[in-house]
Symmetry: C2
Subunit: 394 residues, 2 copies
């Protein structure tokens, strides 16, 4: 991993960072673009004096820059504190109005979606999972069946790229399924795009809402975006900031950094070029894994360059080495790798793999390898060498 020296960020030497899906390396350039980000107005964007207006201008400029890259209207983007909050807003917006409707969520959802769905059942709201099957993605057929079962569905949360397996959902086809269903009730299609933005080109406008996390694409923590095709009535209230969708004094510095990250990493041309590079790097790794009897890809039919999966995330296992052990051994060898989602690292449960029908013993062996724009061929080579060595020893 070669990376130019960055002030205030520690990049350990002799380390290979393969946990980009948990948090990307902070992109130093998004913090130091001289013309755009050097001067961060400190005023409260809701204040009407010069300092407040300067902050407001910066905030709206950052929003417009994000909208331009993401090909949506600035008014459709709302700053949030991150992906978790952006995922919760559309679901929680249903609470006051949706006593009689069902909320659907795919079995592959990140904890920030799944756990909030489970929570609303305590308020006597109905929820229903959409099966993801062996491949770990919602198919139009699976969605259709669930919609038939729940004609009163008001919202469906389906992630575009799974954070544990990299499985890519055909969101355009699902949007089509939603449009073509018999029920005439409006159905809100929410899409967790935390692992999609900057990785795979996908038009936000195919969804009713989508979540974006800053720190997954090089911006600092504490900033994210919610795309909303149309405004809604948010449940969390406060001073009316972000047109009522997300209260709290706006994080101007975070917004500017996220705008810079999105410009540098999420523009379609850049995404396509980086996608090819990432796919090529992972193809080498996958070729090695497929050639080794003890290595199993999850799901096991993933091939070298496989458009069904994000080339940034890979779930695999080494037979007879528990995932937790492999992560520790690789860490000692200089590799940062996780088992599944960092967010569920405190629990042994692997709900996504479980929903895919992965056997329990295999599940406990699963590890996630995720890469990013600063990953090099040398990182891949080092990882292949390390895995080879570990399998000889263990």
């Amino acid at each position: 991993l070669t990376f130019s020296p960055i002030s205030r960020i520690v990049i350990p030497m002799n380390r290979h960072y393969f946990d980009w899906a948990a948090s990307a390396l902070p992109d130093p350039l998004t913090e130091s673009e001289p013309e755009k980000n050097e001067n961060i107005p400190f005023g409260n964007p809701s204040s009407r004096h010069a300092e407040g207006r300067a902050a407001r201008d910066a905030l709206e400029d950052a929003r417009a820059r994000c909208a331009r890259v993401l090909d949506v209207e600035p008014e459709q983007l709302y700053w949030t504190s991150g992906g978790t909050e952006a995922n919760a807003i559309p679901l929680h917006a249903l609470l006051p109005y949706a006593k009689m409707s069902t909320a659907l969520f795919s079995e592959g959802e990140h904890a920030s979606v799944r756990e909030n769905f489970l929570m609303i059942t305590l308020l006597n709201r109905r929820i229903c999972p959409i099966p993801i099957g062996k491949e770990g993605r919602v198919t139009p057929e699976a969605l259709e069946k669930t919609l038939e079962k729940c004609p009163d569905a008001a919202l469906a949360a389906i992630m575009a790229v799974n954070n544990e397996t990299g499985a890519v959902t055909d969101m355009a086809a699902l949007a089509e399924t939603v449009r073509n269903r018999s029920s005439s009730r409006p159905l809100h299609l929410h899409c967790d795009m935390v692992q999609t933005i900057g990785k795979i080109v996908f038009p936000l406008s195919k969804t009713d809402s989508a979540s974006i996390s800053g720190h997954k694409i090089g911006a600092p923590r504490g900033i994210g975006l919610l795309y909303l095709k149309k405004p809604l009535e948010a449940f969390l209230r406060g001073g009316g900031q972000e047109r009522g969708i997300r209260p709290g004094t706006e994080n101007v510095a975070g917004a500017l950094a996220l705008a810079a990250s999105i410009e540098r990493h999420a523009a379609p041309g850049i995404v396509r070029v980086e996608y090819e590079k990432a796919a090529k790097r992972f193809a080498r790794l996958i070729a090695f894994l497929r050639g080794h009897a003890r290595c199993v890809l999850i799901p096991d039919d993933r091939i070298l360059k496989d458009s069904r999966f994000s080339p940034y995330i890979l779930q695999m296992r080494v037979k007879k080495i528990p995932g937790e052990v492999l992560v520790r051994v690789l860490d000692d060898a200089g590799f940062a790798i996780s088992t599944g989602s960092a967010c569920s690292s405190t629990s042994w449960a692997r709900p996504v793999l479980s929903a895919m029908g992965v056997r329990k013993d295999a599940m406990l062996e699963g590890i996630r390898i995720s890469q990013g724009w600063a990953t090099t061929d040398d990182d891949i080579s080092a990882l292949i060498d390390a895995l080879t060595h570990i399998m000889e020893v263990y």
Copy 2:
């Protein structure tokens, strides 16, 4: 306002910043303390590899530093995205369990409390306001009466320092009232301390929960703290971060900056020294205002050094000049001042002043002057000169 040159922060020359209650000047030292904050680990604190552990260590170190200054246990502090979120967590925690209980909130609460209370009535939850009276604060008598009216009260949200008038609530006396009431039901006392921390010494442990906002005491946006005497079951869910109280990848950089801000501005010794200086500066301003027939303090019996009010926030009006106009004229003259809360600047409603019984015409003339640690005597002199001049012209 003299302030040393700060990289990345614009402090306009010839400006006098009197809107600290909306957002404090960022304290450059909290961002550049070489030993403590220079190196911010970029890993996800939930990851188990070296990068993750470094981030976790930094996060817990920041928490311990805050706990030391605030005289609570580190386990009682939870990082949030800011004050708004910290205010919502205890209220929303009631939702799944509190069908049969009432939530109380003072009429003086900030929008981030008030609006969330109003919102839960849509879920058929009962709420009841606690009157603040002419002085703009909840008295033990007012709380007692409300508790008698609502024996099923499960939570009471009462702010310690009002963000529009500076009115200081005697939280210790209120805590005593709660303890001494006849009902044996547990009652959770939540305290918005956004305008208290770093301004007035008050023990968090007198409350069951309290909210702290980073950007009100010199830290960046997007970070805050929730103090919780005992853990609770939060409503917003996700990856289980912050022991389930606040989901989302933890903002390590924000936490370190907030720890530095709290050490520099919220330690009791510093708070007491700064309090005296602030009170002395405001005493000059209040003497001027009291000496001028067109100037009215809100409430009008506020005296020079008045322990009933925070020396950092002052509400006043100039007869015959609408607040919006005065703010604009002062802005043109180089002064950053707000009418009320920046958070409600998009609305003409002034619920706090209204609850205090301020007449509508007087209410529309109200402006808020708020100062901070970088405010100087020269700022006060300049403001007095400007007000004198404006009253001659308008």
